[in-house]
């Protein structure tokens, strides 16, 4: 048996369509069977509510008198892109305020506009014969704009990798605060309610399909940027009219140490036309797997620590290396449910009819990494290999002599196996002298808590280590902890200087 989309739309129009949410459907399939469900259920509504950084909106402000062709523009001090003719601009959700930093950004402008607050538009231009005006400042309400069209390049990922942190430091990421030593796991996504989880082959969710977007009746443009359905990380490009949106389903957020993001409520109604649709929407949290990856590794390819299901993530506790680790969700399951239920109401009341995608989506596409024509320099290329070091049992005086002789400030300390166990700086020695302590061995005054780098590490990462720890040199060690060289802030300065000169 199959049902046509016309049949389903007729039922929606006469109010007899049976609509259920993606959370309710698995039990219905278990009870009625696949054929029974196909006969009984017409539409399954999905929903998600989470941080979707890759969002933004096009605005048209109307022409001023005399007219201006905005070259640069700011909304409440948040810069918008206005290289799209006279009085249009695109504001990205993550763009930060020039005066308030991460506490206010594009996302906050959207939330303020939708909640009825007035926004200051500031613009500048060189002035032309046809657009003579050079500067402009005005207060605007959402209703004053001709158009405010949300247009999000990358929304509603099928699933997300969950995040944890193996390092000794707290990390502040777009996945929230990650506590040291696998202290917590942060995850995102609504699991069984997520739109794309219920249509992994992209047969029902695609171009032209109507959606719930932040309370408005929006539409899917197509697959989003960086969509990767071939690796189960598909996403959607979406659009909707901001004037219909509600702050109930759109919220600005600031992630400490990271920046601004926008919480988007998004739901897709899926018409139940055949058995394949029934099978796909019957998915449960237990069936949805994702990896927990280590954000402590500053690389594109972060290592997977364990594989988990959304059911495990939602249980609040996941075991890592024999220890129970608490989980935190970044997206709101309560709000995701609200989205799916609101959408269900729309379809039940006949306010939204459905359609099939107007173009086929290729579900085998996989995202590729960037092709970099210039290799990022590694520590090996700029480290100083001619390094003097000292053994831990040697005298402080010997250390002082070595520092003076080599005109350096850092002396890595090695043990009898040649492993780096500490570092002695001119500062450590000055301290020992001033305090007139009875200490006379290097091991008594060295810093044992050393930050190191490796020859293979990218210089950008090494530079960040120096900055974060407020130090000026890093011992370079191999996998076994043997000293290979020393990376000095001065060497880094020279390198970056060259890079910026170009």
């Amino acid at each position: 048996m199959e049902k046509s989309i016309e049949e389903i739309n007729n039922r929606i129009k006469n109010g007899s369509a049976r609509v259920v949410t993606a959370e309710e459907i698995p039990d219905i399939v278990a009870e009625l069977g696949e054929e029974g469900t196909l006969k009984e259920v017409d539409v399954v509504t999905t929903g998600t509510f989470g941080a979707m950084c890759s969002s933004g909106a096009f605005f048209n402000f109307g022409h001023s008198e005399p007219p201006i062709r905005m070259e640069r523009s700011w909304l409440n001090d948040v810069e918008a892109y206005s290289g799209i003719a006279a009085v249009d601009a695109y504001l990205g959700a993550t763009q930060e305020s020039e005066t308030q930093g991460i506490n206010y950004g594009g996302a906050h402008v959207f939330e303020d506009l939708i909640s009825g607050k007035s926004i200051e538009l500031r613009a500048s231009s060189k002035g032309t014969d046809c657009y003579p005006r050079k500067t402009l400042t005005t207060e605007l309400l959402l209703e004053d704009l001709n158009q405010a069209v949300m247009c999000n390049p990358r929304n509603s990922y099928q699933r997300y990798a969950a995040a944890t942190n193996s390092t000794e430091n707290t990390l502040h990421t777009y996945m929230g605060t990650l506590l040291p030593g696998y202290g917590n796991i942060s995850y995102s996504g609504a699991g069984c309610l997520s739109p794309l989880i219920n249509d992994p082959n992209l047969k029902m969710i695609g171009s032209g399909v109507p959606i719930f977007l932040c309370g408005s009746k929006g539409m899917i443009i197509g697959q989003g940027t960086q969509s990767s359905p071939g690796s189960l990380f598909a996403n959607l490009m979406t659009t909707g009219d901001m004037k219909e949106m509600s702050t109930e389903f759109l919220r600005a957020a600031s992630f400490r140490g990271y920046g601004v993001s926008l919480y988007v409520g998004l739901g897709v109604p899926i018409p139940v036309t055949d058995i394949e649709v029934v099978r796909n929407v019957a998915v449960r949290d237990e069936d949805i797997k994702t990896s927990v990856v280590d954000y402590g590794v500053p690389s594109r390819n972060r290592p997977e620590i364990i594989e988990v299901s959304y059911a495990e993530l939602k249980s609040g506790i996941v075991e890592i290396k024999g220890e129970e680790v608490k989980t935190s969700s970044l997206s709101s399951f309560k709000k995701a449910r609200q989205v799916a239920n609101e959408l269900k109401l729309w379809v039940e009341k006949g306010e939204m009819t459905l359609c099939l995608p107007t173009r086929k989506s290729d579900a085998s596409v996989k995202v590729r990494p960037m092709r970099e024509s210039k290799r990022t320099p590694s520590v090996r290329e700029i480290m100083n290999t001619n390094v003097t070091c000292i053994k831990e049992e040697e005298e402080i005086k010997t250390a002082a002599k070595k520092l003076l002789r080599d005109e350096t400030n850092h002396l890595p300390v090695i043990n009898n196996e040649g492993k780096v166990v500490g570092i002695v700086t001119t500062y450590d020695i000055s301290k020992a002298v001033v305090r007139e302590t009875k200490q006379n061995k290097v091991s008594e005054i060295m810093s044992r808590n050393i930050v190191t780098t490796s020859p293979e590490e990218a210089v950008d990462i090494a530079a960040m280590k120096l900055e974060r720890n407020n130090i000026s040199a890093l011992p370079v060690v191999d996998k076994d902890g043997h000293l290979q060289g020393l990376l000095n802030a001065i060497d880094l300065g020279k390198l970056f200087g060259r890079r910026w000169m170009k």
């Binding site: 929230g176 605060t177 917590n184 919480y263 935190s328």
Partner: protein, 128 residues
Amino acid sequence: MKLLVNFSRKKGFEPLIAKTVMETGVLINVERAYIESMSGEVLIDVPDSEASKVCKKLREFGADVERLDNSVKRDENECIDCGECISICPQDVFYFDEEWSIQMRIERCVLCGKCTSACPHGALKLLQ
């Protein structure tokens, strides 16, 4: 019950908490302490039934004592019930109820403030 005890060094270097334990016989759990050169602030936990006795004694020794009933405030208009606070809190103050709404066991809070900076929506504030 949580009590926030403020004392000044001007009144000497008396072992305030220890004396209070000795004289009242109430076991006091010190949860946080900030000691500055001229003053200090200590967060203590005592059984509800003994709170007034402890307050009285601490005040006799010259300390300012404040009862903390709602140490962290959650702004329900800003909170979207995501749950980011749950794993951040060292005291397990936050949890989901069956409807996936955030609930709080406020009596466990030790005012560390970790949740307030971790909340992406600025929905959590420490009182004072």
